[in-house]
């Protein structure tokens, strides 16, 4: 029998030393950012009922969830997402007076089959949600938070593309295509498969200007002038209102100084069963996958029994770390702090000094019987400490600095 005890399962990893320090620093920065702008942190369980995500909910594919049973035979999952649990909380535990609610989270999520490209089966997500309000201001607010979040992680070259799913939905209603055909067109546009979109459209009786617009959808991304270039006559009320809403969000973001980070993509049509309005994704160099995604999901909370509009975004911390690494933006500060050792009789002084350094906000560690000064210096060198301080029995001390070769 093969022993697996020394390995970790596929898709999960140890996060150690510098990597862990950097990750915690990013998380701490994000937590500080979110709470500074009035978001309240929430923690939901790692384990939830399958029914909250799969089955009739139809939100997450069955194949992509880690599943097991409780003692009563009910199906459980490791949470595949952090937004859906928040929707559950808001529908079941938050009173009407508490709305609108601005909340944030940082936690691990699990996905069974998404391997590759730095995608792990266990990954950390950070994000915010605004529940109980439907306004362009709220949508712009979460996009602004997304921009601030990416910047707080130390990335400068990135872009957030904003789309509006109702634009697509509105146009499709005008064409009279069946739901199945609409889904087919959606997939093709999402893949920017210009060729196949044309083939499908040519099979149907659709007015010429509408057809031209649909064929153009995969190309409709870039700066916000794109919106002005769309003729409103053929697209119908719903799509037209969607464009007006998008324009409002862009105007708010401009006033908030975010214009250089955002652009428009009207061909962004991912998972329509979840999003109901503004959608967005963030991109940067060095990783082939989006680093964040979000949007308005007004129908989600009602699946848990209460109508409540909502908007939010979530960011992949692991993706951000990969981007930082590829763009050489990792700060390799090394370990900080000092090591305090002592000769016989010097322990009291060493301990007092250690307490003093820590009380002043520094990092200090007391010798744990490493076996003499040489061993302490070796430890300090390996760990990258700033200095070693040696206390003698009479309370005098000697310091060995890193700058002096330790």
């Amino acid at each position: 029998m093969k022993r697996w005890s020394i390995y970790t399962p596929e898709g999960v990893q140890d996060i150690l030393f510098d990597q862990c320090r950097i990750k915690r620093k990013l998380e701490a920065g994000l937590r500080k950012l979110f709470t500074s702008y009035g978001y309240i942190e929430m923690e939901t369980p790692t384990i939830e009922f399958y029914d909250a995500f799969g089955g009739e909910m139809g939100l997450i594919r069955q194949e992509s969830m880690y599943k097991f049973c409780d003692a009563k035979g009910r199906l459980l999952v490791l949470r595949p997402d952090l937004t859906i649990p928040i929707a559950r909380v808001v529908a079941t535990k938050v009173r009407e007076e508490s709305l609108p609610l601005k909340c944030c989270y940082i936690g691990n999520t699990f996905c069974f089959d998404e391997l590759g490209g730095g995608k792990q089966n266990e990954f950390t997500q950070a994000g915010v949600e605004i529940l109980g309000i439907h306004s362009p201001e709220a949508d712009a607010e979460v996009i602004a938070m997304a921009v601030k979040a990416v910047k707080s992680c130390g990335l400068e070259d990135f872009q957030i593309d904003i789309g509006q799913v109702n634009f697509f939905k509105g146009i499709m209603e005008k064409t009279g295509l069946s739901a199945e055909e609409v889904e087919q067109v959606r997939e093709l546009i999402d893949r920017k498969d210009f060729v196949a979109v044309e083939q499908v459209m040519n099979r149907h009786e659709v007015s010429d200007d509408l057809k031209a617009l649909i064929l153009d959808l995969p190309r409709l991304f870039g700066n916000k002038d794109i919106l002005a270039g769309i003729s409103r006559d053929p697209i119908g009320e719903k799509a037209s209102a969607a464009l007006d809403y998008l324009q409002k969000v862009l105007d708010i973001l401009e006033d908030r100084g975010m214009s250089r980070y955002v652009s428009v993509d009207l061909g962004m049509v991912q998972s329509l069963n979840y999003y109901t309005g503004i959608v967005f994704r963030g991109y940067t160099y060095g990783v082939g996958f989006p680093i964040l995604s979000g949007g308005r999901y007004d129908g989600l909370v009602s699946k848990f029994g209460k109508d409540c509009p909502a908007t939010g975004f979530s960011m992949g911390i692991n993706m951000i770390m990969m981007a930082l690494e590829r763009q050489n933006r990792i700060d390799n500060g090394g370990c900080q702090g000092i090591l305090i050792t002592y000769e016989e009789g010097g322990r009291k002084f060493a301990d007092a000094y250690c307490e003093k350094v820590v009380a002043e906000g520094g990092i200090a560690e007391l010798d744990i019987g490493m076996g003499g000064l040489e061993a302490c210096l070796k430890y300090a060198r390996a760990k990258g400490l700033e200095k070693v301080v040696l206390f003698r029995a009479d309370g005098s001390f000697e310091a060995f600095e890193r700058s002096a070769g330790l």
Partner: protein, 212 residues
């Protein structure tokens, strides 16, 4: 300026792919030399090229290790990667087909197929599951798939058919067409956004040649 990286499928697509890139104004001279270098470049336009096994091209592009790829639709269908498929290059045309002995012609709907031999297990599985709603045993082979029905390994095969000559010489016929195949240009989802202007220019330059 950042390099734009293009992954080309090694094999029958290579020469025509190079011709299109040259027509779009890229300098592919290094690529045409028979060198052992793995990555070749056009320094003036800041473009790098590499050749990879066809099945690996969508992988490089999905991960963003290459921004652009040129590869057959058969490989794209089989790999099922999340990419932008921006151009049908039109060359290397053929069909992905279900083929079998002549006796099965016209009887696809009345017989139960249990075993399918193919080099494209994903395409075969998707076709039988979704289009025919059948659970079949897929037998993955690495070459000469036409042999399978002749020696009784499977009832039918799923394979690329270009002229149909190999099938005919072995007494096999096309039973159904799954998809039309040709070379495609694919782009990584993030590259399309971050390098929009340069990539779009390249797409337009290649599209212009296709229309001629």
């Amino acid at each position: 300026m950042r390099y734009i990286t293009i992954a080309l499928a090694k094999g029958r697509l290579t020469e025509l792919s190079i011709a299109l890139l040259e027509g779009a104004g890229l300098d592919c001279s290094e690529l045409k030399e028979n060198s052992r270098k793995l990555i070749l470049s056009d320094e003036k336009n800041k473009v790098r090229f590499f050749l990879a096994k066809p099945a690996d091209v969508p992988v490089y592009v999905e991960y963003g290790a290459a921004d652009i790829g040129i590869v057959g639709k058969d490989t794209l269908l089989e790999e099922g990667r999340d990419l932008y498929e921006v151009l049908n290059l039109g060359f290397a045309k053929c069909r992905m087909c279900v083929a079998g002995p002549k006796e099965l012609e016209g009887k696809m709907d009345s017989i139960t197929i249990t075993r399918v031999a193919t080099k494209y297990p994903e395409i075969a599985r998707t076709y039988f599951r979704h289009k025919r709603r059948e659970s079949v045993e897929i037998i993955k082979l690495s070459g000469s798939v036409e042999l399978a029905p002749l020696v009784g390994l499977s009832e039918v095969i799923v394979d690329l058919v270009e002229t149909g000559r190999t099938l005919k010489e072995n007494g096999l016929v096309v039973l159904d067409t799954i998809a039309d195949i040709s070379a495609r240009m694919v782009v990584n989802r993030v590259s399309m956004k971050m390098e929009n202007e340069r990539i779009r220019k390249l797409i337009d330059a290649i599209r212009a040649q296709l229309k001629e």
